[in-house]
């Protein structure tokens, strides 16, 4: 389904560039050995900007919880409602979440706790965004 397009900035450009290459990368503090997403200029734990790197992750996760949108104010999404909005947690760190419309899954039939795999969907400005699909 159509999505609004993100516009990368200096901070998050590596994330979006990786998406365009079909890879999922997450900011990682080497000092704290801690992932953080969305990306920030500094590590939320140690406060340092010097130890942040981009780490590729498996692209596997689980469905944490969800809601079903019936009345969105977002114009480009109105033709497709109702639709699922699902919160995904990453396999590498369940504290890291990403969002999904869960393509391939019937509205309001979201299998809570199910395994999911990332894929990448192209938005109108050409930028790809992570999406997730139930596997297994």
């Amino acid at each position: 389904m159509p999505k609004q397009s993100p516009i990368p900035d200096e901070l998050d450009r590596p994330f979006w560039a990786a998406c365009n290459e079909g890879r999922l990368v997450i900011q990682h503090c080497t000092r704290c050995d801690r992932l953080q997403h969305p990306p920030e200029p500094t590590c939320a734990q140690c406060g340092s900007a010097d130890n942040l790197e981009w780490r590729q992750v498996s692209g596997r996760g689980r469905i944490y919880s969800y809601a079903v949108m019936y009345d969105t104010p977002v114009t480009v999404l109105q033709a497709d409602q109702p639709f699922n909005i699902v919160v995904i947690t990453l396999e590498e760190d369940p504290g890291i979440q990403m969002l999904s419309h869960l393509p391939g899954t019937t509205v309001d039939q979201v299998p809570w706790g199910a395994s999911v795999q990332v894929e990448f969907e192209t938005t109108p400005n050409g930028q790809k965004v992570p999406e997730w699909r139930v596997v297994g």
């Binding site: 609004q4 993100p6 997403h37 969305p38 009345d71 104010p73 977002v74 999904s100 309001d108 109108p124």
Partner: protein, 432 residues
């Protein structure tokens, strides 16, 4: 120079600060609400949000029995809740002649606008609180306590211009919203999915919220100042609630408050000065603010419950009260699916984690032993985020009319907005 926003660093945002240094030395001496309307008609400037704020402010002054010359400060939440009026290039709506030649006075009311257009010639100190009326109340309490002003008006105008509320035609996003906007992740899905987690964790269901919503609407009809009492005196049923359309499941339209146009104003002054005014003072025991930070893209139930617990901890610590000493309780209900976090975190009437929805099934009427949210809140009166504060003052004065609770009403708490970002005020009939 335009009034600046009060920084978060000057709010009470953490536990461990002890009892508020101005506990019982600041009081609410006057309250006023303007008439309500669903939307502004876009033409009648006598019902603009600026004009309504003047009406509310005058009511608060009359309630306190003082003249506008006695006001030496104004604290405003200057942002309305509706969409912007202009600019004409975007909305097709030109501005008006001064003082309506900007958004100020059309969608919200700044302190500067009120001072100028109400002729508050003695109001030398002005401050802005960013989030809502409850923020302005926290700022106002601190302003008076710190001696930055003696007798102030705390105001908020809530503009709601013609047109469908908060539509989003944008096709691109940058900055923090780029992580959520493509998926339509906003506040409403966040609250709905949080409630979904809550139900899974505690074995509850959405229909269990019905008694609370219906009681809010019932209390609202007992609030003459509220939108439903003034314009839609209807009594919805449980069947109405269960049949209400989903907005973002599990949140239905009856879980959401109705955007309206109106304004509210309080007179806040020192306890000593309040004792010489017309009404029995209602003393502020403390104020506090929650500015939660989440770990990742969105808030989890664990984080929500921790934020709510922190708010309750700050309120009790700053006021010196315990849960058993809290009489009137008006937590925010703009989405009825998060009010349970507050009820459980504050432990009002012994409610513990996971018990709120069962508590709703009991007697929560204002006539009963557990008069929860006696204001009727925003669900019962329309979206202002200030009915709870208003009700606390009326209850503690014994002036709540048909809403007057039958239990003891000597202490009260009100606050809004979400568990992650909210501001709270603790009141008492006694300064001690």
């Amino acid at each position: 120079m335009a009034t600046e926003y009060w920084p978060n660093s000057r709010l009470r945002t953490k536990t461990g600060l002890g009892v508020w240094e101005h506990r019982g030395k600041v009081a609410v001496a006057g309250i006023g609400f303007a008439p309500t309307m669903r939307r502004w008609d876009g033409e009648d400037l006598s019902t603009s949000v600026g004009a309504l704020t003047i009406v509310a402010a005058q009511k608060a002054l009359d309630d306190a029995g003082i003249s506008k010359g006695e006001i030496d400060g104004v604290v405003a939440c200057p942002i309305g809740m509706g969409d912007n009026w202009g600019p004409e290039s975007v909305t097709g709506r030109p501005y008006f002649a001064p003082p309506y030649d900007t958004e100020d006075g059309l969608i919200g009311t700044s302190a500067d606008w009120l001072v100028k257009n109400m002729g508050l010639w003695n109001a030398k100190s002005t401050f802005h609180g960013a989030a809502c009326f409850n923020t302005a109340m926290s700022v106002g309490a601190q302003v008076v306590g710190d001696g930055l002003a003696n007798t102030i008006l705390v105001i908020r105008g809530m503009g709601n211009p013609p047109g469908r509320y908060h539509q989003a035609p944008d096709t691109n996003y940058s900055g923090p919203r780029q992580w959520s906007a493509p998926f339509d992740w906003r506040l409403e899905p966040l609250i709905a999915y949080g409630f979904d987690q809550y139900c899974r964790k505690y074995g509850k269901t959405h229909d269990m919220v019905a008694p609370f919503v219906l009681n809010q609407r019932r209390n609202g009809l007992l609030m003459p100042e509220g939108y439903y009492a003034q314009h839609r005196p209807e009594t919805p049923t449980k069947e109405d609630y269960l049949a209400a359309r989903w907005v973002v499941k599990p949140m239905c339209i009856m879980d959401m408050d109705l955007p309206i146009q109106t304004a509210v104003a309080f007179v806040v002054t020192t306890g000593e000065r309040a004792r010489g005014m017309k009404q029995k003072p209602v003393y502020i025991l403390t104020h506090c603010s929650q500015r939660g930070v989440v770990r990742s893209t969105t808030e989890t139930l664990d984080e929500t419950e921790a934020f709510a617990a922190n708010i309750a901890g700050m309120c009790y610590e700053g006021s010196g009260l315990t849960a058993r000493e809290l009489d009137v309780f008006n937590p925010y209900d703009g989405y009825t699916l998060f009010t349970q976090y507050y009820l459980e975190a504050f432990g009002w009437h012994g409610v513990k984690r996971g018990e709120a929805l069962d508590f709703y099934a009991g007697d929560i009427r204002v006539e009963g032993p557990h008069p929860f949210s006696s204001s009727g809140g925003n669900n019962g009166n329309g979206r202002t985020r200030s009915w709870g504060q208003y009700d606390c003052i009326q209850q503690l004065r014994g002036q709540a009319g048909r809403r007057q609770v039958r239990i003891k009403a000597e202490t009260a708490i009100a606050g809004a907005f979400t568990p992650g970002t909210s501001d709270w005020t603790v009141y008492s009939t006694s300064p001690d």
